[in-house]
C-alpha cells in the first residue's frame, strides 16, 4: 500500500512536485496529500519577497496560459465562459485514473472503497466551500444547466399549479429561462420577468413588488454574466419566504469569484458549474435544503438512485443519491474537490479583493476607449462590478472585433449573445463582445487587450 504512494504521476507539473514529501503520506490520507501538495505550492509562493500580484503568482500554476496563438502571446479573457485549470486539479484527475479508478458506492473491493471515499470527500469539500451544513445537500450534476433542469422537472412539475407565478429577470442565462418555460407550459404556471432600471441592473423594487401570494419561485442570478451586476440575494430570500416562495440562485458567476455562504443567504436552491471555478467540465452541483430535497421526486431514473427495483415499481434512495442516476463523473468530482482546495488555499476573500481591483481597472481603461459602450452599472462606492465587461464599439460588429483580436493579437474574448438573448433584445443590440477576467489575469493582460482593441478599431475605421 505504501509503495503505491511513492509512484507519482510522471508528467511535468508547474508547481514544485513534492516527491519527497509524498513518501511520508500513506494512501489512506490522500486527501491531506492533495491538500499538502497545493498548499506547498502556496507556501512556496508566499515565501517570495517581491510584492507580485495574485495574478502573476497564480499564472505559474496554469501552463495553458503560457502559449502563443497566431503568432502572439495568448491573452485569455474568456473565463466567464470557462476557466482554466491549475496543475493541482489536473493532477487530481490524473491520479484518480492512474491509481484508484473504480465504480463507486456499491463495490466491495479496495479500489472501489477508495474511490467512494474520495468521491464523498469531494462532496464534503464542495459543501464546505459554500458553507452547506450537510454534504447530503449537495447533488452532483453534469453542470449548472442540468441542476436547474433538475429543480424544474423534479420540484417544479410537482409543486407548480396553474396560475402560480415564477419570477425571473430579463438578464437571466438561458439555462434559467428555458427550463421554466418548458415547465410552465406543462403546469400552467406563469413566468414574470423583472426588467432593468436606469443603472442597467435588474430593478430590485420591481422585483419586490412582483412578489405576491401567487409567487411560488424566484429564480435569479447572483452575478450577471453580461451586466457584471449582483443581486441582493439575502433580501430577496427574505421577501420570497414571507409569501412562502422558494428561491433558486444561479451562482455560476459568483461561487468562483467570491465567498458564497448558502446558510447566510438562506437560499433554497443554489446551482454552480465546476468548469467556471477551475474544475473540470462535466460536473456541477445543486445545493438544496434537506427538507426540500427529501420531498422531491426523482429526475432521471436508473441505477444508484433506487432502493429496491421490481418489475412493476421501484422505491427510491435518499437524497442526494435519489438525484444521481447512473455512474457519476467520479474523477471529475474529485478534481472539483481539488479545485475547491486550490481556491480555498489562496482564499476566496483574497481572490475577490484582487478581482474587484482588476474589475475597476478593466472598466476604467475600457471606458476610456472612444465609441465604446459598456453594459451594466457603473462602478461606484455602492456598486461593485464583477471582473467582466460586455461592450460594443460603435459601427463595429462584435464578431468582427473578436475575430481581429484573436487573429492579430492573440486576445481571446467572446462575442455573441452570451446565452442571454432576451437581455440583448432588451438592450436593443444583437450581440456584444465580452472580456472576462479571473484571478490568473493581470493588469498587463488588460493593457494588452486595450492596445489590441484600439488597433482593431482603427483598422476597421480605415475601411470606412
Amino acid at each position: 500500500m505504501e509503495g503505491v504512494a511513492m509512484k507519482l504521476p510522471s508528467f511535468k507539473t508547474l508547481s514544485p512536485t513534492p516527491i519527497s514529501v509524498a513518501s511520508t503520506f500513506s494512501i489512506r490520507r490522500s486527501f491531506s496529500f492533495a491538500r499538502r501538495s497545493s498548499s506547498l505550492s502556496a507556501a512556496t509562493i508566499t515565501a517570495d519577497s517581491e510584492p507580485v500580484s495574485l495574478g502573476h503568482r497564480a499564472r505559474k500554476d496554469f501552463r495553458i496560459l503560457h502559449q502563443e496563438v497566431n503568432g502572439s502571446k495568448l491573452v485569455y479573457l474568456d473565463s466567464a465562459a470557462t476557466s482554466q485549470k491549475p496543475a493541482a486539479v489536473l493532477e487530481a484527475l490524473q491520479t484518480y485514473y492512474e491509481f484508484y479508478n473504480s465504480n463507486v458506492h456499491r463495490g466491495i473491493h479496495y479500489l472501489s472503497a477508495k474511490a467512494t471515499d474520495e468521491f464523498e470527500l469531494a462532496r464534503k469539500k464542495v459543501a464546505r466551500f459554500i458553507n452547506a451544513s450537510d454534504s447530503r445537500e449537495i447533488v452532483f450534476t453534469r453542470n449548472a444547466t442540468e441542476a436547474i433542469n433538475l429543480v424544474a422537472y423534479s420540484w417544479g412539475l410537482s409543486n407548480l399549479k396553474p396560475g402560480d407565478e415564477v419570477i425571473l429577470t430579463v438578464a437571466e442565462h438561458h439555462s434559467c429561462i428555458v427550463p421554466w418555460q418548458i415547465v410552465s407550459q406543462k403546469t400552467g404556471a406563469v413566468l414574470k420577468f423583472v426588467t432593468l432600471n436606469e443603472d442597467e441592473t435588474p430593478d430590485i423594487d420591481m422585483l419586490r413588488e412582483m412578489i405576491s401570494e401567487k409567487t411560488k419561485l424566484v429564480a435569479v442570478h447572483h452575478v450577471s454574466n453580461v451586466l457584471a451586476s449582483s443581486l441582493p440575494i439575502e433580501e430577496i430570500v427574505v421577501w420570497a419566504h414571507e409569501v412562502g416562495a422558494k428561491v433558486l440562485v444561479d451562482a455560476c458567476q459568483s461561487v468562483p469569484h467570491m465567498v458564497v455562504d448558502v446558510q447566510k443567504l438562506n437560499a433554497d436552491f443554489l446551482v454552480a458549474s465546476s468548469h467556471k471555478m477551475c474544475g473540470p467540465t462535466g460536473i456541477g452541483f445543486l445545493y438544496g435544503k434537506s427538507d426540500l430535497l427529501l420531498a422531491m421526486p426523482p429526475f432521471l431514473g436508473g441505477g444508484e438512485m433506487i432502493s429496491d427495483v421490481f418489475l412493476d415499481h421501484s422505491t427510491y434512495a435518499e437524497p442526494p443519491s435519489r438525484f444521481e442516476a447512473g455512474t457519476p463523473a467520479i474523477g471529475e468530482a474529485i478534481a472539483l474537490g481539488a479545485a475547491c482546495d486550490y481556491l480555498s488555499d489562496i482564499g476566496m476573500p483574497k481572490i475577490h479583493e484582487y478581482e474587484v481591483e482588476l474589475a475597476k481597472y478593466l472598466y476604467e481603461t475600457l471606458a476610456s476607449v472612444p465609441d465604446v459602450r459598456i453594459y451594466g452599472p457603473r462602478p461606484s462606492e455602492s456598486v461593485q462590478r464583477a471582473a467582466l465587461c460586455s461592450f460594443n464599439v460603435e459601427g463595429l460588429h462584435p464578431t468582427d472585433l473578436a475575430t481581429f483580436l484573436d487573429q492579430q493579437h492573440g486576445v481571446a474574448i467572446r462575442s455573441g449573445h452570451h446565452c442571454a438573448q432576451p437581455l440583448h433584445r432588451y438592450l436593443g443590440v444583437n450581440a456584444s463582445a465580452r472580456a472576462s477576467l479571473y484571478f490568473y489575469n493581470t493588469k498587463e493582460d488588460v493593457d494588452s487587450f486595450i492596445v489590441a482593441l484600439a488597433d482593431t478599431v482603427s483598422f476597421f475605421n480605415s475601411f470606412k
Partner: protein, 269 residues
C-alpha cells in the same frame, strides 16, 4: 489596363493552382472560349473580362469582384465553378491572415445595397452569429439573382464573394457549390472544421435551400439528370440533418435545422 493592376491574377500561386484544376473541369461543359481566356491570363496585357460585357474602366487593384458586381449579365459563359476557383486561388495567394481580412473588407464595400424592404425575418440567414439578410429571386431567364447585407463587415465581405460567384447562375450551378470549396477562404475560423461562426456556410446553405424552394424539385432534378457528378441533394441532406430528399425540399414550418455541430464535418466512422 496596366500590368500592375493584374498582379493579383498573375501571381504564381494562382497560375500553378489553375493548371491542376483545369483537369478537373473536363466533365463540366467547358467551352473552348474559356480555355483561350485562361491561356490569355499568362499575358498581362490582355483584358481579363471573362465573357461579360463589363466596363473596362473598372480598376482591378481593388478586387476581382468590383469589376463584375456592376456588370450587366450578358451572355457570360463563365460558370460559378470557375468563379469559385478563381476566388479560392485569389485568397490562397494571400498568405497573411490580415491581408485576407483586408480583401474581404474591400469586397464588402463592393456589395450592392439591399433595400430596407428586404430586411425581413424571412430573409434572415439562420445560424450566423451576425445578422445576414439574403434576398433571392429568379429572373426572366431562369437564373438566380441574389442580394445580401449584414451588420458585420466581414460577413458582408463573405456575402459579396458568394454573390459574385452565384449571382446570375443557373439553379444547378448554385446547388453545385459545396462547403468544402469555401474552406480555403476561411478568415478567422481555425482549421478545416467549420464552427457556428462560419457565415460562409450558413449563407451558402441558405442560398441553396431557398433556390430549391423557388425553383421546385422537378425542374432541378431533370436538369441534374444529365450530370454525372455527385448529386447536389447530398448537400441538402447534410443541411436538414438527414431527412429524405423529398421531405427536405417541401416547405417546413418549424425550422429545427440549426445545428451547433461543425458544418461540413465528416461524422461518419
Amino acid at each position: 489596363m496596366n500590368s500592375s493592376s493584374l498582379n493579383v491574377l498573375a501571381s504564381p500561386p494562382l497560375i500553378s493552382t489553375l493548371t491542376p484544376t483545369l483537369k478537373a473541369f473536363h466533365r463540366i461543359n467547358f467551352s473552348s472560349k474559356l480555355s483561350k481566356r485562361i491561356r490569355c491570363m499568362h499575358d498581362p496585357s490582355i483584358n481579363l473580362n471573362f465573357g461579360s460585357r463589363s466596363n473596362p474602366k473598372h480598376d482591378f487593384p481593388v478586387s476581382l469582384a468590383t469589376a463584375f458586381v456592376e456588370a450587366p449579365l450578358g451572355t457570360t459563359t463563365t460558370t460559378s465553378a470557375d468563379k469559385l476557383h478563381l476566388l479560392v486561388s485569389e485568397f490562397r495567394s494571400l498568405t497573411e491572415p490580415i491581408d485576407r481580412v483586408k480583401r474581404l473588407l474591400s469586397y464588402a464595400t463592393a456589395l450592392a445595397p439591399l433595400d430596407d424592404s428586404a430586411r425581413v425575418p424571412a430573409n434572415r440567414v439562420t445560424g450566423c452569429t451576425t445578422q445576414v439578410w439574403l434576398e433571392i429571386k429568379v429572373d426572366e431567364l431562369g437564373r438566380m439573382r441574389f442580394k445580401a447585407d449584414s451588420d458585420s463587415e466581414i460577413s458582408k465581405g463573405f456575402c459579396s464573394c458568394l454573390i459574385w460567384i452565384l449571382d446570375g447562375a443557373k439553379p444547378e450551378e448554385v446547388m453545385g457549390v459545396s462547403g468544402e470549396d469555401l474552406s480555403e477562404m476561411n478568415v478567422g475560423v481555425h482549421g478545416k472544421v467549420q464552427s457556428r461562426v462560419n457565415t460562409w456556410h450558413n449563407v451558402l446553405m441558405s442560398m441553396q435551400k431557398r433556390t430549391m424552394a423557388l425553383v421546385g424539385d422537378a425542374d432541378v432534378e431533370h436538369r441534374e439528370g444529365d450530370r454525372s457528378e455527385p448529386h447536389p441533394h447530398n448537400l441538402l441532406f447534410d443541411y436538414v440533418n438527414g431527412r429524405s430528399y423529398v421531405e427536405s425540399s417541401s416547405k417546413v414550418d418549424r425550422d429545427y435545422s440549426i445545428s451547433l455541430l461543425p458544418l461540413g464535418y465528416d461524422f461518419t466512422i
